[in-house]
Subunit: 373 residues, 2 copies
Amino acid sequence: MRGTFEITATDPGSAARTGRIATAHGIIETPTFAPVASQGTVKALLHDQVERLGAQVLLVNAYHLFLRPGPDVIEEAGGLHAFMSWPKPLLSDSGGFQIYSLSPLVKVSNEGVRFSSHLDGTKIFLRPEDIVDVQKKLGTDIMMTLDYFLPFPSTQEKMKEAVRITSDWARRSKKWFDQAPSRQLLWGISQGSIFWDLRRQSIEDLLEADFDGYALGGLGIGEPKTELLAILEKADALLPRSKPRYLMGMGYAEDVIQAVARGVDFFDCVLPTRNARNGTLFTSRGRIVLKHQKYARDFRPVDAGCDCTTCRNFSRAYLRHLHERDEISASVLNTIHNLNFYLDIFKKIRQSIQSNSFPEFRDRMLHRIEEEE
Amino acid sequence: MRGTFEITATDPGSAARTGRIATAHGIIETPTFAPVASQGTVKALLHDQVERLGAQVLLVNAYHLFLRPGPDVIEEAGGLHAFMSWPKPLLSDSGGFQIYSLSPLVKVSNEGVRFSSHLDGTKIFLRPEDIVDVQKKLGTDIMMTLDYFLPFPSTQEKMKEAVRITSDWARRSKKWFDQAPSRQLLWGISQGSIFWDLRRQSIEDLLEADFDGYALGGLGIGEPKTELLAILEKADALLPRSKPRYLMGMGYAEDVIQAVARGVDFFDCVLPTRNARNGTLFTSRGRIVLKHQKYARDFRPVDAGCDCTTCRNFSRAYLRHLHERDEISASVLNTIHNLNFYLDIFKKIRQSIQSNSFPEFRDRMLHRIEEEE
């Protein structure tokens, strides 16, 4: 059934749970990590590599795809799954974050958002309804509402206005979306930063509009970690257990574990892929920064305990050589490793919840030695 | 047996032949195309992708690897095959061409060549014996002698001097190489441009020194095509049938066919890989330049007759989108297609010679419609 979210196991000592989101292109087992594929490709990887790593869902970006190649081209191709030739679930971010962070001359009104394309300066006006239409043309499995994102820190007064507009846009999005039956899901995004009164208001407004899932936006952008965790705990109490929750853009492994313990099901982050391209590799014993001279004659794999293609075949010295020479294959091999590292953590999170050992796994993750080797 | 070259079929109407070069890391079926992997990786591809495309041998560059990571690091790793984790044959170019084309302040003497590293300006002096030693540390299957390369056009007088030095260096390289038994092969490079007297002298000098294979260097750099083909024909008559011949750096499919008909066995070229990264794709009906607007809604594969991963899964419109957005996966997918296109031509060349249909295949290749679709 469209948008069914079934909880399959729970951790007795926390809000952590495993579940299954049913989408038009298959099941997503949660907690899950969506690799970022803003333009319709995970940067540096081919789809079959991403699939082999165990990715269940990719995150694409409605803002980027709206600008290029445009929703009409994608619709003409038969939707985004057909255009990019990816058969599994896709979640499209509405692009709110990108509009506010990438575009010059952004102006928000009750009606919508006016901005200039960061590519060629074209002036664009988009209403929340337009963003629903764009995502309908993309045909993604999970669509996100347009929100009004503010940087951290912002004043309580400004944030109050952002929440008001975000809630209004969410209601309009839902109303617009409901006009036609759809196999696509629509998730709402809450704002309010770490002001609990505002965040609560934002979530309550979304709940009233009744979405298929609920996202926490505008977090993980500089606010104190303890305050963030407090917000997650309070949100957990407020949100229905029966719908998936998505913590947008947050990605350090330690934070993920803490968020899962507070009932979050869905994550995305550019961290593993972007760091890979910059030559920073995640390992079970800390990070490896390939440019450092000490790896020039280090013929060990990146992570002896890792079974990814990169670690099974190549040494730190070779990866360093490729990285230093700006070889494209450095980005490819590093991305394979980092993405494997992330997706593997999520596999272990799911397994630990299902086997009643989440507390032990959580402790182990939080007390790992985090030093560069 | 080390360096055995066995001819397996010949075309009755031309000098074309198929053969097998035995190396320490396996057999190379000729005529063959060596994808360029200057730094120890085919640009944009992983080794398993290159292997699946049917590559039998890669070309690496002693000049680049000498500068970074350095022959000692590679020797410590157990040789280049181990360092880069490539189990099949490797041919290392001596780097003559790169020294003369990339380095500032090149000065050639009888003793050797003085130049500055194009990476950091370090002053370096290398004798032909040093280049043999570098390649011994690399442990490549086929090593090339250091030659003295001049651009086209150069005067006959200058070319005469280049040939004299090239021959002297080749003799010294062979003598140095012969001091210790080796499973590696050493091929000599002739120079002389399209001056037949000089080219003949160069080849005769190499023959006297007795190499495992013979390369024609300094061609395909702007000289008239008819003159080049005349040189290949005359060289064919002069070179022993029993040794492989290598036409360095030349790559347009039409030229390859003509060279094979004149007895050439071995080719390398950056054309398929470099063009791929620039968004130019080779097809059986001509080239596709992805940046052109007409591909924006062209949902056909690059080449309907092609069975590569790229053509089986992705459209011109999607590849154009990835290319325009500077996505790394554009380089990967385009390189897979172009390299498949090249390696496939060589498969067909070998098949046509073995099935006595080389003249027909040659005609078909030379009369293809070469227009952009």
